[in-house]
């Protein structure tokens, strides 16, 4: 259980910082121009 606790600390600490760094590297894709057709809309009477 001690090993699991240190593992959890490693995943949460350095792991979350790594995900955040990945996000910063990727942020241009998110804030860039919108992809055509990426989000679609449906209407209110949209029964199949």
């Amino acid at each position: 259980m001690t090993v699991a606790t240190w593992l959890a600390i490693a995943v949460l600490g350095p792991g979350s910082l790594a995900v955040f760094a990945w996000f910063l590297h990727d942020v241009r894709r998110v804030l860039g121009p919108r992809r055509a057709g990426a989000a679609r809309s449906g209407g209110p009477g949209d029964a199949a």
């Binding site: 959890a8 600390i9 894709r29 998110v30 989000a39 949209d46 029964a47 199949a48």
Partner: protein, 481 residues
């Protein structure tokens, strides 16, 4: 100081993103721009609010490691199932929300029922009250004042920037909640002791995976853990993802982070039990805020500020996301369907922003009036699962597409059963001494006792039976003359 800087940063992000909002698509599904790292941050921080931080540590304090193995672990299977079985098919639908996906398969009545269930589930009652608890423990404020201040800040940046502002603020909140939990666990591990040492000191069933839970209770928790399969926030983010693959990867990475967070929070609850047993913390403290008392006892001032910011982050990331979903349920899936015509984009956008405020006001009133927060959570998840689980999974996974009538009957019967049962709990329920729950006693000769936690065992079969009856009826009509 740390907390003030954090709150100012959230508002600045909302103001910056507001300039990028061109229409309802940008506001509600971030224009379909979300990639894996952003999805990981927003999924992890949104789905884990103060209900998990406080609830898991409180359960660990009272019941030991069962808080992880019996309560949290079944959810990981559901996350994986959602990633593998639900997300790829969901992403192909022309929809922006869970109710709209229901409407796509089963028509407007099913969409309206799902909108109501999703609204009940998404109103951020628990996190709003949790924010009030933080204000009381750390600043000595009345619960309602801290709740109103926190909710107002989350409302401002959500109304300004929609899902994109919400997700961008979630990235900071994700780091704050993860790092603060990791730091607190690391300090506790070196100063208080390992889980094994604490287990040896406390004795009993503290480290037993299922604690003192009966198989019946384990089954109920396993059923509740199906929630991710119809989780409105997961659905919204799937529609907002660049591709299904990005969302699947985000969910699978999220499982590791959720499990690590659960483990650390449960461990901190055990530390709380140990400190109380040793007399370091008073036995009279508020059990639901045990993790805050542990942090206040063990962490130095700077790290304590980070921990409070982490708790605030955990609450605000949940409040903003669910407020947005609930407001969309009212306008996009409710008002628009009742009026039977599509609303202009500008009207949708404006009405959703107004309804975000309405949603938070409702959540504040409900949250401050619920006696036990766990009761609110059980009610919310039972309503969502009873209404949407059977129809949605059948539509997504069965080889043969169910008729519209099946989904409509299943959704409406599940919703009606859940609302009726909880109304009965409210009117006729009897408090069960020592268990902190309410039960209904049905029948005179051989009375059966139904506890509030087991409501799903009644309402989910109602939805399933109505779905089957609707399918049979729908097929008969199709085959008729």
């Amino acid at each position: 100081m740390v907390v003030a800087a954090y709150l100012a940063g959230m508002l600045a992000i909302g103001a910056l993103v507001a300039r990028r909002i061109g229409g309802f698509d940008d506001f509600f599904v971030a224009g379909g721009r979300m990639t894996t790292p952003l999805l990981v941050c927003t999924l992890v921080s949104t789905y884990y609010g103060l209900d998990v931080t406080f609830g898991s540590s409180e359960t660990a304090y009272l019941e030991g490691m069962a808080a992880f193995f019996a309560y949290s672990a079944p959810f990981y299977l559901a996350y994986v199932a959602t990633a593998i079985w639900v997300t790829p098919r969901l992403k192909k639908l022309p929809a922006r929300s869970l109710p709209e996906a229901m409407g796509h398969f089963y028509g407007p009545p099913a969409r309206l029922a799902a909108a109501l269930a999703s609204f009940v589930y998404s109103a951020p009652i628990l996190s709003v009250v949790g924010m009030g608890l933080i204000g009381r423990v750390f600043f000595g404020w009345p619960v309602w004042i801290a709740a109103v201040i926190g909710a107002a800040i989350a409302l401002v940046y959500t109304v300004l920037g929609g899902l994109l502002a919400d997700a961008l603020t979630d990235t900071v909140q994700f780091v704050a909640m993860c790092v603060s939990a990791a730091a607190a666990a690391a300090i506790a591990l070196t100063t208080v002791g390992t889980p094994a040492a604490i287990g040896a000191r406390l004795g009993g069933q503290v480290l037993a995976p299922l604690g003192a839970l009966s198989p019946w209770e384990v089954l109920v928790f396993a059923l509740v853990a199906l929630t991710p399969l119809v989780e409105p926030v997961f659905y919204q983010r799937t529609f907002a993802a660049v591709s299904a693959r990005q969302m699947v990867r985000a969910l699978l990475l999220g499982v590791a982070l959720w499990a690590a967070y659960d483990w650390c929070v449960v461990y901190l609850g055990l530390v709380g039990a140990d400190l109380v047993a040793a007399g370091t913390l008073p036995a009279s403290l508020d059990e639901s805020a045990i993790i805050l008392h542990v942090a206040a006892r063990l962490l130095p001032a700077g790290l304590l500020g980070l921990f409070v910011a982490g708790c605030l982050a955990s609450a605000m990331s949940t409040i903003d996301s669910y407020t947005l979903v609930a407001a969309g349920n009212l306008v996009y899936d409710g008002w628009q369907v009742v009026r039977r015509r599509s609303l202009p984009d500008r009207t949708l956008l404006r009405a959703t922003r107004v309804c975000a405020g309405v949603t938070l006001a409702v959540a504040l009133v409900l949250g401050l009036s619920f006696e036990r927060l766990r009761d609110a959570w059980i009610f919310m998840s039972t309503v969502l699962l009873s209404t949407t689980l059977v129809p949605m999974l059948a539509a997504l996974r069965l080889a043969r597409r169910p008729p519209a009538r099946a989904g409509q009957w299943g959704a409406i019967a599940g919703l009606a059963a859940a609302l009726a049962l909880f109304a009965a709990f409210q009117v006729f329920g009897q408090d069960v001494a020592g268990e902190g729950t309410t039960a209904l006693v049905i029948g005179l000769d051989r009375p059966v006792r139904v506890e509030r936690e087991a409501a799903l065992l009644v309402t989910l079969p109602c939805s399933g039976l109505a779905f089957a009856a609707g399918w049979w009826r729908g097929r008969r009509r199709e085959a008729g003359p």
